[in-house]
Symmetry: C2
DNA sequence: GAACCCTATCAATGGCGTTGTCAAGACATA
DNA sequence: TATGTCTTGACAACGCCATTGATAGGGTTC
């Protein structure tokens, strides 16, 4: 399944226009443009300058939403965290995850009923 | 360095009362109490409940001041960064440092003990 | 041509960070 | 003992930020 002959990087392929992306992350399109102005995301553009968000972009935005809404971190804090992540290899933010809320060893039980960014389970 | 024949941990020894600590970090005593209420610092107490800040406490506060004032990170962001630091070994915040300010001095060869913003050696 | 996108601007809302002050009480030191 | 600093708790003001919203004029897509 999942297209055995489709091992391509479709997670990085730009597919969603801003209205769709905004709906996916429960934010206002304006907010996504602000994130971009702040340098937190950098969606692709069509030859005619239309923003196109990839699945990776969506996940990044969901991280921002998690940090800002659930943790109360402001955009400067998000920027610092992302900067830290870039400097130290990767996956640093994951450490924020198994907080105390979830022992990730029972994930194959079935329903991922996470109380965290709802779409980050499958990173 | 650090006084001859004094191998004790005097960096962790509580010495400063709140007014002195506040002066050292250029903050209001009120602000230090807020940091404590937020769980960002935890100064020692005398048997009579007087707060006493150690050199380590001072450095931690200076980190908070650096993150909030210079980088614009809010207290929730500081908390997240500290939490991340606890989860991932140590010294994570140091990576934020060689940003652009430190391009001139690569002075010390191997003293892995100081993890302080350089803004504070004017103490 | 309708519905969407672009940039840019202005604004309202709510919340946060910091400082400040006031109170009433406990402590420290000269 | 008297003065000064500490304690907690409350209230407030100032400025800034995050988010959403609306508006304008113009381009893109179907």
């Amino acid at each position: 399944m999942t297209g055995a002959g489709r091992p391509d990087r479709d997670d990085s392929r730009p597919v969603y226009v801003i209205s769709v992306a905004a709906t996916l992350v429960s934010a206002h399109p304006r907010t996504l443009r602000i994130y971009e102005d702040e340098g937190l995301i950098c969606p692709a553009r069509t030859p005619t300058n239309i923003r196109l968000y990839s699945e990776e972009d969506i996940r990044r935005i969901l991280w921002i939403r998690h940090l800002t809404r659930d943790r109360g971190v402001n955009l400067a804090g998000v920027r610092t965290l992302f900067e830290l992540e870039e400097r130290l290899g990767k996956r640093i933010l994951e450490a924020l995850y198994d907080e105390g809320m979830r022992s990730r060893d029972a994930e194959l039980a079935g329903e991922p009923d996470v109380s965290v960014p709802h779409d980050l389970d499958h990173i």
